[in-house]
């Protein structure tokens, strides 16, 4: 039997599922070049460069040509602000959760200690409960703490404590740690311990062994963990939605708000940029991983 033989049924259904996966994305990207301002129907591409010319709701000519909506996006202060917030949150979350998650993975894989069952359990919970439960949890926690402090210290107006970037970042870290630990632990499980034993035999102490042998061998796992944490944070809507406050609007929250009002091709342009950014992030980690291996 030919191992790569696949029946016609499998081939056709595969093609249909790929079509299902890609059709919305292709529509999304195509509409980011839409000449029609209302974005209901595709009014063709904007092909001419030059000063902005409108014909009804159609863009006839734009200084940016087909990239009209990308230029508009760049001028949109709310979007730029939200993009900045999203990146700040994602990068901070990635850095902290990778360190904490890797440490926990080492502890769980290499050591026996009293609280081990608790550590294991607590890292398992966020994976098996719906995200909204954790979101409600942090909302309740922060709102109760802040209300308590605000009344206790009689704070009001601008000095009042409220949810914002800080609460979002903390919640994202807590949400990402379990996933980083899972990925790093999987890598640790498959690692040959004899290299570390050899280093110790040759006179390296624990710290040097860790730094020169364990960590470099662990690096692919740590990088995949980082990529996972980064994409989880970048993509997250639910936890952010409940943990956010004034001044901490992220891109998903901004888009969600827009969906209830008028939609312009700017949102599509944003999606196109988004795909490109994540594509670059993935390529970068792939490249780093192939260099490490």
């Amino acid at each position: 039997m030919n191992p790569t033989r696949r029946s016609l049924f499998v081939k056709i259904s595969t093609a249909l599922v790929y079509f299902f996966l890609y059709a919305p994305i292709i529509v999304l990207i195509t509409f980011s070049f839409n000449a029609s301002k209302t974005n209901v129907l595709f009014g063709g591409f904007i092909s001419r460069f030059g000063p902005l010319q409108m014909d009804g709701s159609m863009v006839v000519q734009s200084p940016c040509g087909p990239f009209h909506w990308f230029c508009e996006l760049g001028k949109n202060k709310d979007v730029m602000n939200a993009a900045g917030n999203t990146m700040t949150i994602a990068l901070t979350t990635t850095m902290i959760s990778v360190i904490v998650g890797t440490m926990a993975a080492l502890a769980l894989q290499r050591y026996n200690f009293k609280l081990k069952p608790f550590t294991q359990m607590s890292l398992y919970i966020p994976i098996v409960i719906p995200e909204i439960v954790m979101g409600i949890g942090v909302l309740v926690l922060f709102s109760q703490i802040f209300t308590f402090i605000n009344t206790a210290l009689a704070l009001n107006g601008d000095t009042q404590l409220s949810m914002g970037m800080g609460t979002v970042i903390l919640s994202h870290i807590a949400f990402c740690i379990p996933f980083v630990t899972l990925v790093v632990q999987a890598r640790l499980q498959g690692m040959d311990k004899s290299y570390e034993e050899a280093a110790m035999d040759l006179g390296a102490n624990e710290l040097i062994t860790f730094w020169r042998v364990t960590l470099p061998m662990l690096m692919p796992g740590v990088l995949s963990g980082a990529l996972l944490a980064f994409t989880l944070s970048l993509d997250d809507f639910v936890i952010t939605f409940f943990a956010t406050g004034p001044g901490a609007t992220t891109l998903p929250i901004y888009v969600y708000g827009l969906l209830r009002r008028i939609i312009t091709p700017q949102v599509n342009a944003l999606s196109t940029v988004w795909v490109l950014v994540v594509f670059c992030a993935v390529m970068l980690t792939q490249w780093l991983e192939s260099r490490e291996a």
Partner: protein, 308 residues
Amino acid sequence: MFQRIRENKPLQGFLLSSLSNLFMVVLLIIPLILTLVISFGRRAPNGTVIYTFSLDNYIRLAGFDPTCEVPGLFGCFNDLYINILFRSIGLAIATTTFVILMAYPLSYFIARAPIKRRNTFLFLVLVPMWTNFVIRVYAWMMLLRTQGVINGFLGWLLGLFGLNFVPLEMLYTPGAVLVGMVYEYLPFMILPIYTSLEKIDNSLYEAAADLGANTLRTFFRVTLPLSMPGVVAGTILVFIPVMGAFVVSDILGGKQFVLVGNLIQRQFLDARDPTFGSAASLVLMVMTLVVTYFYTRKFGFGEEIVVA
């Protein structure tokens, strides 16, 4: 001091895990306990919480009215919340079923592809997931709208034959929510099923063929049983998030289509009754934990979940 840490392995383990423990206690365990405490409380007229011990919220969730004056146990019975709960469970089961049916052939195709091409095919599954969760829902909004892409295409197609076309009302229907859910969670099923299919040794297929089994028989007696760990892991990865989802139903289902997630969200933001919302949130958590527990006890819990 340093020497003591070096020689004390349990202490090293404790220190390494302490940061993670700190985060999990403060941002997971304490919030869950607080949610439980608040769910026993009452809503003050200004929307804040009065801490007491009352089961009113749970009684209301079950469909009974604590202030009921009609005699008899079912005097004021209202199945509103029970219906919402069953709608969520039904949607989660339907989504999982469709996702398995769509993910399986694709995963099989990739697992049987030449080794060199497998990563490319997998990569192609992941690319659509690089747009944001909310943006993917928006894409379906563009497709399903009355004046959307699908209706536009159908109208154009029928127009070629000179037929008149009445646009279909697809957005704000339960079907739209189902399509959106399937789209969001499909990759979560493809990866684990692929992982378990890829592990099946080719000699097993050869043996089955040598012993005279036809394609269908080989599938049901060899392929399917051996790929069950992947299906189980994928089911958990799809079922749990759908149970708690509220964004997809909010955008594609309209105001009428309420899931448990929407109920909870509205209690915290619109209705401003955090105590009732907390109770609903805990019921949701316990329900998913119970389902996951029995499901994994029956089918086992594969390592596939890690790979995804």
